[in-house]
Symmetry: C2
Subunit: 218 residues, 2 copies
Amino acid sequence: MTWTDFFPELKRLPEPSLSIVERAGRVVSLPAGAIVFGPGQPPQNYLLLIKGTVRVHQLSEAGREIVLYRVAAGESCAMTTACLIGDEVYQAEGVAETPIEAVVLPRAAFDEAISKSAEFRRFVFAALSSRMTNLFKLIEEVAFSRIDIRLAQRLLDLAGDNDRVAMTHQQLASELGTAREVISRQLTEFQRRGWVATARGELTIVDAAALRQLINAR
Amino acid sequence: MTWTDFFPELKRLPEPSLSIVERAGRVVSLPAGAIVFGPGQPPQNYLLLIKGTVRVHQLSEAGREIVLYRVAAGESCAMTTACLIGDEVYQAEGVAETPIEAVVLPRAAFDEAISKSAEFRRFVFAALSSRMTNLFKLIEEVAFSRIDIRLAQRLLDLAGDNDRVAMTHQQLASELGTAREVISRQLTEFQRRGWVATARGELTIVDAAALRQLINAR
DNA sequence: AGCTGACCGTGACATGATCACAGACGCGGC
DNA sequence: GCCGCGTCTGTGATCATGTCACGGTCAGCT
């Protein structure tokens, strides 16, 4: 079994493209918390995530941060792709949120596959454009959405089936690019209304319907 | 003379790619104020601007807007490219700020040129990735920058050699995704400090150095 | 001159960010 | 258990920004 088993679109690549990427790509593992890439670095490899998730966030000078997007298993990293193509350095940081396994495909092989395979191009650029779409949405949210609505949305996104979010207020603030105090106050209010239950470093969604209603109210 | 004269990178395309795009691309003109594309529309053509500028901005439900980027002569439109590749509809609006001339290249010819020419690909995707880089910067600014600094930056950007910006406060507010009143107050303050002179529908930068210093102060 | 619509100024208030600080909790060491 | 320490959370004060309401001013038109 080879790593392309994790990427159906790539598995269907015609030869010789399939062989190129299969042979050039190496699988690496990183522990949770590892910094996958950081601002100022030039990308050397195309990245494909097999297992785990990577959080990509931007850091401000003042020490605040905002999550730009997450890379899930089976996806590629948009910022890496953009920087590779445009020959630029990373502007954001990528952090392994869980232990991860990823394929690193060296630039040369990436370029070769791009030029030789229409299917590979489609895979790469469809992912890129879909992420771009997300970024436009993010800009709209940051510029125009109220913080309580953004928090409610994010809590629903982050909660698993057990409606639990194991994050500190500071981490939630970093998700949305705001300050911890703002999150604390909003959560206090959510709790007062019986929508969530909070505990140190974690929180439980009690009334998901109410949160959804808040989101749709405007 | 053909329209590719306006795009040095394309002019250097090897045959047959050059002929493909030259023959498939039609030059169109639009008056200032024309809506080039709008939210919900599917893109049918790749766009290359020959003359004038197009402003691409996102509209919020509440009627506020923010300028995502401008397409200058000699450039392509990133949102169009992304939507074409990813087969999605536009999420933002493109407006001709001046009378414009543009090349529209139908999807089929675009796809063909992409698959046949490495140079064309480089042209298209380098533009896309560079715009993506801009978007990350925009997110950082919206999320973390003070409005006075963002306004100062934008004024310097918008001012021509004569240090004049012919826009209303409302238009400036739309540039930055904020409200008119906020701009009015900031400009009043800038004027009080002797940095700008304001008039109805226009403004003159008096002390560009002071504005630059404000920007660099933090 | 008088009308009209766009443009601008401003006060009052709501929301969000920043600063300062204190209390609560969890965990390791004893 | 208990202590000590670092992290996490709560809260008031204040500032920055956004929203609402309204009135005044200006340019262009008849």
